[in-house]
Amino acid sequence: MKWLVFAWKNVMRNRRRSLTAMLITAFGTAAVLASGGFALFTYESLEEMTARDSGHVVVAHARGFEGDEDVPLQHGLADATGLAAKFAALPGVRAVAPRVQFSGLISNGDKSAVFVGSGVVPEIDFRLRGPQMNFSAGQSPASNAPAPEVVIGDELARLMKAKVGSSLTLLATTTEGNLNAVDVVVSGIAGVGVPEIDKRLVLADLASVQRLLLSDKVGTLSIYLKETADTEAVAARVRELQPDLAVKTWRDLAVFYQAVRALYNRIFGILGVIMICIVLFAMSNTLGMAVVERTREIGTLRAIGTLPSEVVRNFVFEGMVIGGAGAVAGMVLAGGATVALLFAGIEMPPPPGRSVGYPLFLSFSPLLYGAVTLVVVTLAAAAAWMVSRRAANKPVTEALAHV
């Protein structure tokens, strides 16, 4: 404790210089924490978005993920209801959503367009998708409506000049390889924020889609969990229960998430390295000047019996005091920015390939804050060690003669 007090007093010798090093460290720490917080927020948002879209765990026929079906639902799941009930009983499972992916042509009588659709159980699916699906008009399809209902993407609605209540026709290939058609009514118009998806999106009641495709199978069962962290455990349990089926997690299916994560890790990794260099140079400069100025004092301390390692330790403590104070100030800055952004309502522009922006938030991670603080303090200590060990090992007479 006494040594830390001495370190603090030495740091305060040249307040302006120490303060400058502290501020550089603080801004470096804050920049790393803020960018790290932004990256974490992005990862969390993409995780949620992906999990809400696909489900945390997706179960299909053993060849269901291979994408080589000759006809729709060739590799579908036959006993979907039984399987869904079995998976729903697993601990941590919130809901199981059966789905059928299908595609074909959608027509308003005058004009046709390609659609990519999903047959879903509306009562389950639209609840689970949450804010990911933004309705601009209408509502989700009703399973018991007199005529089959669909939700279509807002871009597709514009192309088809469709409104809520409009009649459209879906044309698709059946499981037998023939063409089949069904008239549907638009119950809602929605978007997911990706124009490429929104101009082809059709979500229909599962039973209607099964009738269109002439099958009672489903393509996949999407298992939604209460906690994303349970994903691997539940996936493993499902594999145990149904070793004959293919099981993938949201992470396996999240190509976009993985790409963004890899990109951000590199960008923010490089930023981190730059910050490390800046902090290292600032600390080396400040402490290096202190060492030179105090060479005579080092000689005195060495003469009265201080070991070189103890001289170095004292400077390392000084580095840790500056680094620690800078890290704390950086945490306060980053924490303040995190809180301020919660209320600032700043919107980021839409990312490439998307039509809507997203709010600018920074995630707070105690692990990130702890790790960055540890790195900054370690760097400061390393800088102090580097600049002081030479002076500490200088011959005592030489150090005492230093002017």
Partner: protein, 226 residues
């Protein structure tokens, strides 16, 4: 240590320095014994080798040849770390320019050698207050050196040198930066405390008042004892 054994024994010490292309021989085979509790003055003109001899006595420099012993321990084979540990335990230093640590209070400066020795806090406090009382600086314990006069600073330096009850005190021109009255006080104090604690003192000085108080005066000219 037996009664006859000197605290310091220097045998035929030689030391030279390189200055550019040439070499200057600072000590030319100096031998000197300093007994327990003895106060020895090293005198001589500038460049006579006083500081070199003082540095070799105080274990902060190494000779080119010759032998050294401190309290019966031969020093020739010891490495720098062992010499530092020996200085920590057995040697106190008083410098011409006081060399106090400016950010430490008087109390902290005096306590420092005991911190190095790992003395328990209560014992440290007792000894620091005791020695500060002896040098008359107890009321100034919490002041920084900058707030003291030259004489007071040198008294702090004496307290720092003697607090660990060293076998040897090295003093380099301790009165050079002081006025006559203060120098007189410092000489008396050093003499008194060194005798009280049975510390051998080797003091390099030009000051007649200082050397007149010493048990023995050793005169150096051109690196040789006269």
């Amino acid at each position: 240590m037996s009664a006859e054994m000197p605290t310091v024994r220097l045998g035929v010490l030689r030391k030279s320095y390189r200055v550019g292309e040439s070499s200057i021989e600072a000590l030319k085979g100096v031998s000197l014994d300093v007994g327990g509790g003895e106060m020895v003055a090293l005198t001589g003109p500038s460049g006579s080798g006083k500081s070199t001899l003082l540095n070799l006595c105080g274990l902060i420099d190494t000779p080119d040849s010759g032998s050294r012993e401190l309290c019966g321990t031969a020093l020739d084979s010891l490495d720098e770390l062992s010499l530092t540990r020996l200085r920590r335990e057995k040697v106190g230093f008083i410098f011409q320019g006081f060399n106090l640590v400016p950010v430490m209070t008087v109390y902290d400066n005096v306590e420092y050698p005991l911190l190095l020795l790992g003395v328990a806090p209560a014992e440290r406090r007792r000894r620091v207050l005791e020695v500060l009382g002896r040098v008359g600086l107890e009321p100034f314990a919490l002041r920084l050196p900058d707030a003291l006069s030259g004489g007071q600073r040198q008294r702090v330096a004496i307290a720092r040198a003697l607090i660990k009850a060293p076998a040897l005190v090295i003093a380099d021109e301790p009165t050079a930066n002081l006025d006559s009255a203060t120098a007189r006080q410092i000489v008396d104090l050093l003499h008194e405390l060194a005798h009280e604690r049975n510390a051998s003192v080797v003091v390099a000085t030009h000051d007649e008042r200082m050397s007149s108080h010493c048990d023995r005066v050793v005169h150096l000219i051109d690196g040789e004892l006269q």
